[in-house]
Amino acid sequence: MVISKAIRDQIEAENANYPRARGGLLAALHRVQREYGAITPEHATALAPIFDMTAVEVLAVVSFYDMLSSQPAGRHQVRVCTNLSCSLAGAREFLREIENHLGITRGETSADGRITLGHEACLGACANAPMMRVDDRYYEDLDTESARQVLDALD
């Protein structure tokens, strides 16, 4: 099974809280991405009937959100915020330095499958720019050195 019974049970239980069948889709997509690293077409096909949708609709929703991906990704999602406030505080240069450090550009996954790097628009931490998100955790007031330490410590 592309989605394990345990995950599927959780998704269905959670979806029962929503008034419409498709209400719990986003929560489910986040859960699948966390478990499997991406929401592949196979995952979309497995999810679609739970939400009374077609697989192509599910995949279209995935394509709408930057934080969701249909491409298999690394073990850790690293996202640097490059919206206006962050960019004024040097986030673009900061992102480039991280790219140099990891040897990959945004959108790519490191060869060891450890890190997928991306950028995101406004993570809501403007006061503490530059910042990045590693999976579900925020790291703020970064400079190149402190960011390297965080990234190098990832398994």
Binding site: P41, T54, V56
Partner: protein, 547 residues
């Protein structure tokens, strides 16, 4: 498919004013839908729109149909604003004109200026509305987005992503009409594109309707691509002959040939759709196996070409000889479910006047679905039965028993319907007279072969599976040697000296005789038939609902 005209009868009738003119319409549906129901939308009321379509759900995405409504702040989209009593609507106010211009400017931001090579040019809503309502010049200094220009979505449809304005009609069509749901919008904002699930094709029985639905040149027909320009086409009203549904169509003609079929709206029959097989069936008109001349089997038993007049004389000589020698009971006729009501009525009269009751009908069958496609793969089986042709199986038994010496056959449906594996049985008959549009193996046993006009080359009426009589008009001028089945059998009757056949073949007169002689056709004549057809009078003699 019988969609009710308008909405349920108990719906409240309201009065609204649009640009100073008052309309009475049903409360409930959106302004666009309500105006469409009374037939004035895109007529005297012109509210431009892209995403809204009469037969699809409302999307509200294109924003072009904005109108001003007294008492409401800001402009409202007519596609999803319900009609209410006393509504006063303005479609030409300054605010509306400005809003349209702005919407069009946004839609044009990324639209390529490739009209000179675009199939849609000339029948493009973006061209039309930009011309009528848009600003004369673009103010944009930004580069247009570059996207894929040719994606094969499936066997019938090609996608140009640069031209797409994301109205999502194609997406809604696939979800709502064939319910196959192949398409979706991927991405977000100005990076949105129409796409398919990986590994899936846009390949359903109705896929090419998205080409008609697409208001721009983003979705084009692989079959029609780069074949003709829209302004070269002359469109003639017709009916598809592919199955018993009788979908209403436009036959688009250029350079003396039908270039394509397109569905023509008839809410009582096919809404605005047709199946892909029917759409592509125009190719049979000019196919290389069309019969274009008459043949007679000579003394060496070889078919040799002759004039139609000679072939008719020869056929009459054979039939008259048999009747004189053995009586009219040895003569038989097989009708074609592809022929028109008038052709079939003339044929029935020929057989009646000869004095034979030996006749039959063979209807080819195939796949059917719940939308439009009927199992009977011919346009007029219902009409043939109403005129009095019954299943050919008993006639075939009679032929097997040696009771038939001369037969007139319209079409070769007796083979395609699977009643006979081959022509062997008919080869036992002395005189076989074949009248057909296309060549078939029946020619091997025919003494006389006469070419007939295709549905696209003649006038007449057809009766669909729901007993609706619909008119066809000649889209192509046929050669003078190419006659309708009706005229051929009429001339044959004249050559036989039969009663009741006047000198010249006059279609309106045949139609009037049909209405007078065959009770279900009472009151239905080719000249009085509305463009959306009329119902056959039901078997009980009660007149059906005529829309």
């Amino acid at each position: 498919m019988a969609t009710a005209a308008g909405v349920a009868c108990e719906a409240e009738i309201v009065r609204i004013t649009v640009d100073g003119l008052e309309y009475r319409l049903h409360a409930g549906p959106s302004l666009l839908a309500a105006l469409d129901q009374i037939g004035v939308l895109m007529g005297e009321v012109d509210i431009p729109h892209y995403c809204w379509h009469a037969k699809l759900s409302s999307d509200g995405s294109c924003r072009l149909c904005q109108v001003e409504i007294d008492g409401q702040t800001g402009l409202q989209t007519a596609c999803n604003t319900p009609v209410r009593d006393g509504m006063i609507v303005h479609t030409r106010s300054e605010a509306v004109v400005r809003a349209r211009q702005t919407v069009l400017e946004f839609l044009m931001l990324n639209h390529p200026l490739d009209c000179p090579v675009c199939d849609q040019a000339g029948e493009c809503k973006l061209q039309d509305y930009a011309w009528r309502y848009g600003a004369p010049n673009s103010r944009s200094r930004e580069p247009r987005r570059k996207l894929e220009k040719r994606i094969d979505l499936g066997p019938g449809v090609v996608l140009d992503r640069e031209r797409c304005i994301l109205c999502r009609r194609c997406v809604r069509f696939c979800r709502e009409i064939p319910r196959t749901g192949e398409l979706a919008v991927f991405g977000r904002g100005d990076r949105s594109v129409i796409g398919l699930f990986p590994g899936v094709q846009l390949d359903n029985a109705y896929s090419m309707n998205v080409v008609d639905l697409c208001p721009v040149g983003a979705l084009t027909s692989r079959d029609f691509r780069c074949k003709a320009r829209a302004w070269q086409l002359e469109s003639v009203e017709g009916v598809c002959g592919g199955c018993a549904r009788g979908c209403n169509i436009w036959l688009d003609v250029a350079k003396g040939e039908v270039q394509r079929y397109r569905p023509r709206r008839n809410d009582a029959v096919n809404d605005t759709w047709m199946c892909d097989a029917g759409r592509l069936s125009y190719a049979e008109i000019a196919r290389s196996d069309r019969l274009d001349k008459a043949w007679i089997r000579n003394q060496e038993s070889v078919l040799e070409p002759v004039s139609v007049a000679s072939a008719i004389s020869e056929a009459a000589r054979m039939l008259a000889g048999l009747v004189a020698e053995k009586g009219a009971g040895v003569i038989a006729g097989i009708a074609s479910p592809h022929a028109t009501n008038e052709d079939l009525f003339a044929f029935k009269r020929l057989l009646d006047e000869i004095g034979t009751e030996n006749s039959g009908l063979a209807v080819p069958h195939g796949e059917a679905d719940e939308l439009l496609i009927c199992a009977e793969k011919a346009a007029n089986a219902t009409g043939a039965r109403a005129i009095g042709f019954e299943d050919a199986r008993s006639l075939l038994e009679r032929i097997r028993g040696g009771g038939v010496d001369g037969i007139v056959i319209l079409g070769h449906d007796i083979l395609t319907a699977g009643y006979l594996d081959d022509e062997t049985l008919l080869g036992k008959i002395d005189s076989v007279i074949l009248i057909d549009t296309h060549q078939s193996s029946l020619m091997r046993v025919a003494q006389v072969v006469l070419p007939a006009r295709h549905l696209a080359e003649k006038a007449g009426t057809l009766t669909n599976c729901d007993r609706r009589v619909q008119r066809v008009r000649p889209a192509l001028a046929a050669d003078s040697e190419l006659l309708t089945e009706g005229e051929i059998v009429h001339r044959l009757a004249l050559a036989l000296g039969l009663n009741g056949f006047e000198a010249g073949y006059d279609l309106p007169r045949v139609s009037r005789s049909l209405a007078a002689a065959v009770p279900p056709f009472a009151g239905i004549t080719i000249e009085s038939l509305p463009s959306d057809g009329a119902q056959l009078v039901s078997d009980g003699g009660e007149k059906g609902a005529v829309r």
